[in-house]
């Protein structure tokens, strides 16, 4: 029972982690909380659903959703954030992000109505036993996709020149400019990658929980944001661990305390962690030199 709940928690948490990565990467480079990120996740879920309904294989649908959201993320950055960058306060970009968020969710409500839709059974829900543990093919698929994406991201960040340029930009934007890095392009790439990961999370949640609707980005976005903070905003491993931790805590709360306190437990623990470790699990404590 406990192991099964743990596995459920990790599955849920890995989708939080995928969304949290987008928050943390964008924050790492331009210190913006991209409040429209939850809506990118929601649109990813819808695009995947649409492609599946058109008869696409689920993995093709996943790729399609990721690709679509890549472009969406880059467009959002280009239209709503870049014009404000450097010219107005960081708060304006934040307000702009909230605007985009509301715009996207209401647009989707107009296009797709507000009823909850669900993916058909695209991945078999067949279960099998591993010792005392009951696993479903669906769960394994979700965990595998999430793991592949996160490992891929980590390799990309550590070893490619795009990854190095991203790390350089997150450490010192101005110096990066002067080293010949086209910072705008790096920011654009960051939005693209973060959005693609969120879309993957959206499709996976759609397949797993059968609940796709235009306002699903709100709560998921908040939770993923909380996960990013929990891990230490700006830290990529932090977002991964933060997401999974939050997912596990939430499921454990539901299983052992009460389902009605689901969100309260998740956010309550977030508050406690932050009281003890304000910089998050993986954040570094910056001691300002005086």
């Amino acid at each position: 029972m406990f192991l099964e709940q743990l596995l459920n928690g990790i599955t849920l948490g890995s989708t939080y982690a995928l969304i949290a990565l987008g928050y943390t990467m964008v924050y790492g480079i331009i210190q913006l909380i991209n409040f429209a990120h939850g809506e990118v996740y929601m649109i990813g879920a819808f695009v995947g659903l649409f492609l599946v309904a058109m008869g696409a294989n689920i993995f093709l649908a996943l790729l399609g959703a990721m690709l679509f959201c890549m472009l969406l993320g880059m467009t959002i950055e280009r239209v709503a954030y870049r014009p404000l960058r450097g010219k107005s306060s960081r708060l304006s970009a934040l307000i702009s992000a909230i605007g985009v968020s509301i715009f996207l969710s209401t647009l989707m409500a107009l296009l797709a109505q507000t009823n909850t839709r669900s993916y058909p059974e695209v991945i078999s829900n067949r279960t099998f036993n591993l010792g005392s543990l009951e696993l479903s093919v669906l769960q394994i698929s979700i965990l595998a996709v999430a793991a592949i994406l996160m490992i891929g991201l980590q390799l990309m960040i550590q070893h490619t020149r795009l990854g190095k340029a991203m790390r350089a930009s997150s450490q010192d934007l101005d110096a990066s400019y002067l080293m010949g890095i086209n910072v705008n392009r790096i920011i654009s790439a960051t939005f693209a990658i973060g959005s693609a990961l969120a879309a993957a999370g959206g499709v996976m949640v759609g397949v797993y929980y059968h609940a796709v609707w235009p306002y699903m980005g709100m709560m998921a976005g908040l939770k993923a944001f909380a996960a990013a903070i929990l891990g230490g905003i700006g830290s990529i491993p932090g977002a991964m661990v933060g997401g999974i931790t939050l997912g596990v805590l939430e499921i454990m709360g539901v299983a052992y305390i009460s389902p009605s306190y689901k969100d309260a437990i998740a956010f309550g623990i977030l508050i406690i962690v932050l009281l003890i470790r304000p910089q998050g699990l993986f954040g570094k404590k910056i001691v300002k030199k005086v």
Partner: protein, 252 residues
């Protein structure tokens, strides 16, 4: 090589630079001196495209470059270091240099994710080039360390190596000797000489250490309250009345 024509820069009501003219010829080591707040770093920021001058123009190899974004100015061949060190603290020493190299190579960012053969070949050349640069500044042994773990003098030298990775023809050094002890300064001077000869560079440097400036610069310009009050050979500068009055002080 580099020509500044009637450069003025205003911040709000403050005139930080006033009608500054400057000509740096190819192959020169050119010194820029003056009291704190005279506008030296501002001038660097204008040359590298961080600021757009309020008036006047910046010409590099005959081409007007002001108005270009900083990363393009960098790619045209102007490298720089910073007064307050601005290394990528959490990148390895080697990666700090490699980041500079990447800007001047062909392969695009997304090509690098795919790991195309072209990219891999280029990556090899970059590695080789970066290691040569690190050897030149004496940091080859520390190439896997985080930049933040280097000593102060080492960080300054790493900044030079990083700037050189852009394959610049003009190198701007903002107080390269600040915080160095006498030995380190001596080493720095030979390093500046060496890279200037070896890489056929033109160097423009801001420095407060008069010994260093007077001994390595062929030509010196003096800024005071945003105005250029003199330029000439070290000898001329040493004996210039206005310079002595406002900056050097009377000989004791």
């Amino acid at each position: 090589m580099l020509e500044l024509k009637h450069i003025s820069q205003e911040f709000g009501g403050l005139r930080a630079l006033d009608e500054v003219n400057l000509i740096v010829n190819e192959g020169q080591i050119y010194g820029l001196i003056g009291p704190n707040g005279a506008g030296k770093t501002t001038l660097f920021n204008i040359i590298t495209g961080i600021y757009q001058p309020t008036e006047g123009g910046v010409y590099f190899q005959g081409q007007k470059i002001d108005g270009n974004p900083p990363h393009q100015v960098a790619r045209m061949g102007i490298g720089r270091t910073f007064q307050n060190i601005r290394l990528f603290a959490k990148l390895s020493v080697l990666d700090n240099v490699r980041v500079g190299s990447h800007a001047v190579t062909q392969a695009g960012l997304f090509g690098s994710i795919l790991g195309l053969p072209v990219v891999r070949r280029e990556e090899k050349q970059i590695l080789h080039k970066s290691q040569t640069l690190l050897e030149m500044v004496g940091l080859q042994d520390k190439r896997w360390e985080y930049a933040e773990n280097l000593s102060y003098g080492e960080q300054r030298r790493l900044e030079i190596a990083r700037a050189l990775a852009l394959q610049p023809t003009l190198l701007l050094l903002d107080e390269p000797a600040a915080g160095m002890n006498a030995t380190e300064k001596q080493e720095l001077m030979s390093l500046i000489y060496y890279i200037q000869k070896e890489m056929k560079l033109t160097i423009l440097l801001v420095e407060h250490d008069m010994n260093l400036v007077m001994s390595i610069c062929e030509r010196i310009a003096v800024l005071d309250y945003g105005r250029k009050i003199a330029d000439g050979s070290p000898e001329q500068i040493k004996n210039d009345e206005r310079v002595i009055q406002s900056y050097l002080g009377a000989p004791a």
